[in-house]
Symmetry: C2
Subunit: 455 residues, 2 copies
């Protein structure tokens, strides 16, 4: 059979999913509801609609419908870069001399360079449909900001991006891609907001943080007529949109009679992992199939493997709704790991609940071994991976080498979320041999989780 499997499986355009899959509908025990940060009561649809577009707020609260139609306008945009290829890693298998079969779903073949576009276009669509003028957001690594810029350009929406200042300075080319798509990009903290001015006065010369950028973006959205704030991960709506990754993967697997044993994704806020595994998890929850799911996180920011499961703030400024999740505490400052997309203190509530139920395993890996895997992968498979994606590559290689020891012919599927073209500063550190690892101490983590709100 496997001889008939091409290196790249491209589904037909007609096989593009018409509906997203909402895994919460099939979970017996659902994630806990989002709470109002002031009252600690569950957020109502009306309350959420002040933050998000109405239809996105509805999706956020929808725990019952397993399938939600993808609007035609979004499908039209998806056709620009989807279906994305499911790649058989023949070259990697051969190089590892493993009996395992390795597949990866590659989401990097679009100009934003990652899977983030799948949700960006959906959020921009609903914003446009609601008659908004624009949206605001923050970006750290820059993948989300780039994706949102492209999506807003497509729907002719204004896009204001607050980019963490150190990232703004270290990644000038990321910034230029966003500007090319018409977004305004402001280094954060900035003089354009009250919170920014306050931080600049208190910490002159600061290079910013994600928490500060979020606060600025939220302030501008709330204070500007016709704007909303949008997020690229963590939320249930984002996982819903990202389920297209898993749905396409499943269709391709079914079409070619591929039965994954192990499904691996990197996990920061959970957008890619949740999207990739959702449809497979649905089958597992319904007893139709079984899979081993592995979430891979950086050892420097180990929310699943070393955090606690409790209610916490989603942002440092404590203005967003509170959710129950695996968290290191909203004040946790991860060390300067180059996988900026994985440097989030918490984890999607959906992924957290599935993990708490023992349906997902988690592993943490160190930065240097991740870049070793990334470089090996680039040379063998020809694609230069993003640092975030390379966390999944590292564990996929580990699992394939285990198969080599045991002789098991397992089928491994992992998510290759994006490309590393804008992360060459990190590769340079690795090439120069100056990259370091950092693992937080138990005391550091304890001090941080001790700050969780008492709910």
């Amino acid at each position: 059979m496997s001889k008939n499997i091409p290196y790249k499986i491209y589904l037909e355009e007609s096989e593009l999913p018409k509906q997203w899959y909402n895994v919460r509908a099939d979970m017996k025990k659902k994630p806990e509801p989002l709470l109002n940060p002031a009252t600690h009561k569950p957020m109502t649809l009306d309350e959420l609609s002040g933050v998000f577009c109405r239809e996105l707020a509805e999706q956020e609260l929808n725990e019952t419908d397993p399938y939600i139609d993808i609007p035609e306008e979004i499908i039209d945009f998806y056709k620009m870069y989807r279906p994305s290829p499911l790649v058989r890693a023949y070259y990697l298998e051969k190089a590892l001399d493993t009996p395992a079969k390795i597949y990866y779903k590659f989401e990097g073949n679009n100009t934003s360079g990652s899977h983030k576009l799948n949700s960006a276009i959906a959020q921009a669509y609903y914003a446009k449909k609601q008659g908004l003028k624009g949206v605001t957001t923050e970006t750290g690594a820059g993948q989300w900001g780039t994706a949102l810029s492209m999506a807003c350009s497509y729907f002719d929406l204004d896009c204001k991006v607050y980019m963490v200042k150190c990232s703004y300075e270290q990644k000038p080319f990321r910034r230029e891609v966003m500007r090319t798509y018409g977004a305004s990009v402001t280094p954060s903290p900035s003089n354009t907001t009250e919170v920014g001015r306050k931080i600049l006065a208190e910490h002159p010369g600061t290079t910013g943080s994600l928490g500060c950028a979020i606060s600025e973006a939220v302030e501008v959205a709330v204070g500007t007529e016709g704007y909303r704030y949008v997020l690229g991960s963590v939320l249930a709506q984002v996982l819903l949109h990202q389920s297209i990754i898993g749905l396409e993967s499943m269709t391709a697997c079914d079409k070619y009679d591929i039965k994954p044993d192990i499904i691996i994704g990197c996990a920061g806020g959970g957008s890619n992992l949740g999207g990739l595994i959702s449809p497979f998890m649905g089958r597992k929850l319904k007893g139709e199939a079984d899979y081993k799911f592995i979430a891979v996180e950086p050892a420097s920011c180990p929310s699943l493997t070393r955090g606690v499961y409790g209610y916490d703030f989603c942002d440092t400024g404590k203005v967003c709704p509170i959710q129950k999740m695996y968290t290191l505490g909203s004040g946790f400052i991860p060390s300067a790991n180059h996988a900026g997309g994985l440097r989030y203190h918490g984890m999607s509530a959906v992924v957290s609940e599935l993990y708490d139920q023992g349906l997902i395993e988690a592993r943490s890996v160190e930065q240097t071994e991740v870049f070793e895997a990334a470089t090996k992968f680039a040379r063998i498979e020809g694609t230069l991976p993003a640092p975030e994606s390379s966390h999944a590559i590292k564990v996929a290689i580990d699992e394939a080498l285990k198969c080599k020891e045991t002789g098991e012919e397992k089928t491994i599927l992992f998510g290759l979320t994006g490309t590393g073209y804008f992360d060459m500063y990190a590769y340079q550190k690795f090439n120069d041999g100056t990259m370091t690892d950092y693992i937080p101490t138990d005391e550091e983590i304890k001090a941080s989780v001790d700050t969780l709100p008492k709910i």
Copy 2:
């Protein structure tokens, strides 16, 4: 019919061409032979084999075989990123409100970011087969150097890249991609060669030139046991390898009953243009079909539109064979146009001869209008193009707008040779409004072409 054409046409892996197409075999009047720079006599196979691998030298001289088998090992590598998609530019057509049908062959979906990989892997393969230890080359914009690094990594060959110093400094991330693939990258001029030391002594503080980088790479290749020098464009062998672009395009067109009226490619040394048009030109030469071919070059380096057709040196150092081509003179220094891949004083002998026979048209376009087209394309079609490729986009849009005026439903096919992720410095200039145009004067061109050797 057109309703059944998907946004992206992906051929099956089994439809990947098994042979390259050698357009010279079907040309009644062939390009003039390469001449020995010392004797001005046609280069023999033995002479060429001192410069190139034996099989590549044979390909260079082969004017009779229309098809040449692609070795299995190269096909295996091609499967990593080929067949490349033929994209129907539905979104662009709609935005331009044109009755024209626009297609583009996209060669940017590989880590080198361009079509250069098609020939790099072939040249690396023949070098490996001949038992060489490694190859040397120069790179300006960096696409060729990146492609060659990937190809050499795959075949475990050493790869020494001399990168023009200003490019080395302005594009540190291009450099890091090459290093990630194991290449050594040396800023040129350097202290590692005699010619480099000489130039540094004469011009301390120089930021280098392509001509100087070529001279250094050639010196190292000639002086090191087991090495050869390789080139990414201009040569007939390169056009042969690049014919895979046109062959796939033609297969996809035939499969979907698409009949291009106009075929457009950017032209620097001619590798992409020649590769894209070759099979279609073959049909035209045999009277089986007719097409209008347009070569697009920068107004700052207009070898076809303002150069002369004569024998000239291929390199500034005058060590390589002499060929008859459209040229601005080997001493021509083009202004600092951001499309580094198009800043070559001459043009492929094959393309030159076809142009001289009136089988190809040529147009020159200015830098700023090219970036306007590039930005429009990025926003509408979702792919951020390389500056080089954007020359073809500009003319494709022009032609589509002519159709809008006349109401003609012409079918336009152009080559989108690569992505612009490593060209954001140029986009930044455009975004900032500080990009300028430069057109050489007649006097400048005359002074340069007056230096052609008298043959």
